[in-house]
Symmetry: C2
Subunit: 159 residues, 2 copies
Amino acid sequence: MFDAIDQKILKIIQTNNLTPQRDIGEKVGLSAAAVQRRIKKMRELGIIEKDIAVIDREKIGNNVTILVELFLDSEKIEKIDALKKKFETISEIQQSYYVTGESDFFLVIVVPSMAHYENLTRRIFFGDENIKRFRTIVVMGITKNSLELPLNLLIPNEK
Amino acid sequence: MFDAIDQKILKIIQTNNLTPQRDIGEKVGLSAAAVQRRIKKMRELGIIEKDIAVIDREKIGNNVTILVELFLDSEKIEKIDALKKKFETISEIQQSYYVTGESDFFLVIVVPSMAHYENLTRRIFFGDENIKRFRTIVVMGITKNSLELPLNLLIPNEK
DNA sequence: TTCATTTTGCAATTTTGTTTCATTTTTATG
DNA sequence: CATAAAAATGAAACAAAATTGCAAAATGAA
């Protein structure tokens, strides 16, 4: 369960999940039916988390990307968990990383404008007594933007 | 061209691009055929950049996520462009942000292990004379992981 | 208002995904 | 290494989804 062929399939669909199963089958040396079953199972197991369309922010316009480094006051678990949950519900927060080191969180935020960001900042950072300070890093350009995992490098861990 | 209905469609498929066009049609008040045509056009225009499956790193195992803050020596355009291109080709680099402020780049890196990261580090950072220094931030947990854009907040910019 | 253009819905068509079933392959066990 | 049970497979039938043609409706510009 979960072999080299599954890995090949993942490699293909993490780049383009609209690839017909027929085509995938050809590339990995299986019938379309077999591919379909494997994909189905990986969806059930949660190996495949979701299937999404990625929208180009440039084309849509009105988008500013900002990275935020967060420094917390207290590092009590409950407080941290509360923050995590809060972040999940905020649509402007695209990604939230809980990290080690001097700071505690890194956020990737997308907003229509700087004004909007300033507002958001008031709403979620200044209002929170757990947040000691935060650093705002304005993104000038995104040169790579994916959620791809480097499956080539995968060391076999299940058989 | 590009109206509120397109936005609704994007909102749906950026969460689940396997949603049948019939269902999308119902939600936005159009026939499946109309939805299909709109999606097709948005793909052609590049508004929809790509369609992908997202894989759960936890389930795959052998994955360590690391954020890297890069400080460059020279800020000459050619040098920066060279770096951007280099990063694109490296499969461990999932995301690359070119930023303002003290530092120049933020990278999201996924590797099978810390040992692998150390190696990567030698290969791409220490070898490069443009890179003054870099800060490694180890990710303990990812509490939100998407490429979704907050389309609710979109200010109409095209008619 | 009128004409040209665009967008739409419906129905037909095509493509893709899914299931069934008999067979093969794999795995575990004696 | 023989063999029985379990799992995975391909081919074909089937179902569901996407795509296209076409006439009608909506939209926009003059």
